[in-house]
């Protein structure tokens, strides 16, 4: 499976490179978008699919292999958790890269149900398994998005009320674990196909204009930046909600994005890394930074990423615990950094590129 994916990617990158070669006088923005498509978006979508393939494999292995001892169970659960961390982290990295097909319809909800203000994931998971103890992936695809994604998977894998080492629990929850993993694999495989399709695929639509999606490179760049900036804005919400900034200061630890797995902050770091790849480009290829002549602004943005990444790496405890401590100054400082990063992108970067970021979509009537 992975070999097939890699060879597909190689062929498409080669085709895109060849088509670019024909356009000898292409525009800087078009070059940046094309490089981002080839070296940032496509590889990231490939890695995301790969992480879901791994999750599917590990889930099958866990569910289909009897575990005789508690040590074996613990190891098997640990392997599955690691596969989950990887899929969850890759999904977090994808947030700023969800331009195009993934941002259409309700697909994001199918991957993650957040925020879950009323604990719907736990309630609907239990109700679903009571109703359909032998759930299949096909049946899951017709159920609510609440139970289709990684949040329900996380609930089963990490909630204190569920001990998967017990055979009865494993028997109850495995059909849903396998169905979710398969749903995620199928969804990301379909997405990758939508990116790779020659001429009408998303990678091609970021490389040659006009096309069915964008009339010119300015529309495409605005769309790519809108998604990237929205992801940074969402970081503010993902931190602000548990910190109580949206609820008159009262901490809301259960509004942490991945409170059950304790990975909220590392997921934020993954999102930030994804956003930075749009800015810098990947592996020495062009990114948005190459379009900015204002050195001071470029430096300011680089520095804002450096500071925020360093802050995120400095936390030793899960966000769930940190928000309830008396001293939240480090989290407050992180929030300010997210806010600063968002403002620099939304105002200064967009203005420097003469791009409007969501006028009616963000503030209609």
């Amino acid at each position: 499976m992975r070999d097939v994916l890699k060879s597909r990617l190689t062929i498409v990158i080669a085709l895109l490179s060849a088509s670019l070669g024909i356009i000898s006088c292409s525009l800087p923005r078009q070059d940046v978008l094309s490089d981002l498509a080839q070296y940032t978006y496509l590889p990231a979508y490939g890695q995301w699919l790969e992480s879901n393939v791994t999750l599917t494999d590990h889930t099958k292995q866990f569910c289909q292999t009897p575990t005789d001892t508690s040590a074996q169970s613990s190891k098997a659960i640990e392997r599955l958790r690691n596969a989950f961390y990887s899929a969850q982290s890759q999904w977090s990295l994808m947030q700023p890269l969800l331009v195009g097909p993934m941002s259409e319809g309700n697909k994001s909800w199918q991957v993650q149900f957040y925020p879950d203000k009323r604990n719907l994931v736990a309630r609907q998971t239990e109700t679903l398994l009571d109703k359909m103890p032998t759930l299949t992936p096909q049946q899951l695809s017709e159920e609510s998005v609440v139970v289709q994604g990684l949040t329900a998977f996380e609930y089963i894998l990490f909630d204190e009320s569920i001990d998967l080492a017990q055979p009865s629990k494993k028997k109850r929850y495995c059909p849903l674990l396998m169905a979710i993993a398969e749903h995620q694999r199928a969804l990301t495989e379909d997405l990758q196909q939508q990116w790779l399709t020659p001429t009408s695929g998303m990678a091609a639509q970021l490389s040659q204009f006009p096309n069915d999606r964008y009339l010119d490179q300015n529309e495409a760049l605005a769309d790519a930046l809108l998604i990237q900036i929205s992801a940074i804005d969402n970081l503010k919400k993902k931190l602000g909600a548990p910190l109580g900034r949206l609820s008159r200061g009262a901490p809301q630890p259960y509004l942490s994005e991945a409170w059950r797995s304790g990975r909220s902050l590392s997921n934020m770091l993954a999102t930030l890394n994804g956003a930075r790849e749009i800015w810098t480009g990947s592996n020495g290829q062009l990114g948005v930074r190459s379009l900015i002549n204002d050195r001071e602004l470029s430096h300011k943005i680089d520095q804002a990423y450096d500071v925020t990444q360093a802050q995120l790496k400095g936390f030793q405890q899960p966000l769930f615990q940190l928000v309830t401590q008396s001293d939240t100054s480090a989290l407050d400082a992180l929030y300010e950094s997210f806010d600063a990063l968002h403002r620099i992108h939304h105002n200064e970067l967009a203005q420097s590129l003469n791009i409007q970021i969501g006028f009616n979509a963000a503030d209609g009537d």
């Binding site: 909800w109 964008y214 529309e219 003469n354 006028f359 009616n360 209609g364 009537d365």
Partner: protein, 370 residues
């Protein structure tokens, strides 16, 4: 006093004179070229009342103090009111020949505009949806008399609902259809106060303020916001859902003549693409086609109004206003280029075609008239 061209030219000293009459004739000759009227911003945040011809030439861009929303044009004089977006207390009467600001219309004490208004067919009266801020959300329709130069507040009557938004004339010219959004907001605020107790409704009211009918939809958190009326009296409304973001709910509704108000059939795919938000609605009565913009989903749609067949579902970044033109629709964008869709004779198999317009890209508000 009945307003005529002579009255208008006579009363408006600033635009009287031979040169202006020449301008009037020139303006009239331009009528074969649609003049698009819309509110716009520039990158610095300055608001404008804008008029552009479809070929991209700027007729005027008049700076105004507050952001406007919809526009209503006088039935026969070259003037239009650019209506202040909620909670604005100002609207702007503009001379379409040169963009001159003729009047800043201020709402009365304890009132603000909701962004929509309509001139009547005589040109003597203008009706506007407004908020009675003493009882936040209580909808009123304010009537203004046009004396040939100025709009003067005259009287008001209830919208028979909360948070009225767009309104339009029914074909009889005596009945007004009002979309009551159902959301309470206070003066100077856009913050919703009653998301768990919304009361959206579609109301038909006579021009003298008598309630003729009031209908609702099953989805209590779907704010009935925008509407358009076909030549045969068919009303189509667009909703904005204020409930849980992951839920799928209908977003378009229709009231055909002598029929109850009911859901307009839209595919699951289109509903999920719209992201709970429809913006502008236009009906091309000659083509019997319905078009809507969904800026949060970056989607533009055209349906056959007779049989609800989907004719077009296409990406338009931050699509904003839509207006019917000969053979199709023109669409503006808050973020990208404006487009002209030719949809005459279109079917699901032979979809409408589009071309980019040379109008300025981006920063167009959610409504246009042409």
């Amino acid at each position: 006093m009945t307003v005529s061209r002579r009255t208008f030219l006579g009363l408006s000293g600033a635009i009287a004179g031979a040169g202006m009459i020449g301008g009037w004739a020139f303006w009239q000759q331009r009528q074969h070229r649609p003049l698009i009227l819309s509110a716009r911003n520039d990158q610095s945040g300055q608001h404008y009342a804008a008029g552009f011809y479809l070929d991209g030439r700027c007729a005027f861009q008049t700076p105004v103090a507050t952001r406007c929303h919809d526009i209503t044009r006088h039935p026969f004089l070259p003037i239009a009111l650019f209506v202040g977006r909620r909670p604005s207390t100002e609207s702007y009467l503009i001379d379409l020949r040169d963009g001159r600001l003729l009047q800043t219309l201020r709402s009365q004490t304890n009132r603000h505009f909701y962004g929509h208004a309509i001139f009547d067919a005589s040109g003597d009266w203008l009706f506007s949806t407004e908020n009675d801020t003493r009882y936040p959300g209580k909808g009123v329709i304010s009537a203004y008399r046009f004396d040939g130069a100025q709009l003067l507040p005259h009287h008001e009557f209830p919208s028979y609902g909360i948070g009225p938004h767009q309104l339009a004339w029914m074909p009889d010219g005596n009945t007004i259809v009002v979309a009551n959004g159902g959301i309470r907001t206070e003066a100077d605020s856009r913050k919703e106060m009653n998301l768990n107790a919304m009361e959206p409704s579609l109301v038909l009211v006579s021009r003298d303020g008598r309630l003729l009918s009031k209908e609702t939809l099953p989805e209590q958190q779907s704010s009935i916001r925008h509407l358009n009326v076909a030549a045969d009296g068919t009303i189509v409304t667009g909703q904005q859902f204020m409930g849980d973001a992951y839920k799928e709910v209908p977003l378009l509704a229709i009231k055909r003549p002598h029929q109850p108000f009911t859901t307009f059939p839209v595919s699951h795919r289109a509903l999920s693409e719209m992201r709970h938000y429809t913006a502008s609605i236009s009906i091309n009565s000659e083509l019997r086609q319905l078009a809507i913009t969904a800026p949060r989903g970056n989607r533009f749609y055209i349906w056959n109004l007779n049989n609800a067949e989907l004719l077009l579902d296409v990406n338009v970044p931050d699509c904003a206003g839509v207006g019917a033109v000969k053979n199709g629709f023109v669409v503006t964008s808050g973020q990208g280029k404006c487009r002209l869709f030719t949809s005459i004779g279109a079917t699901a198999e032979h979809q409408p075609t589009s071309k980019a317009l040379t109008l300025p890209a981006g920063l167009w508000d959610n409504h246009l008239i042409c």
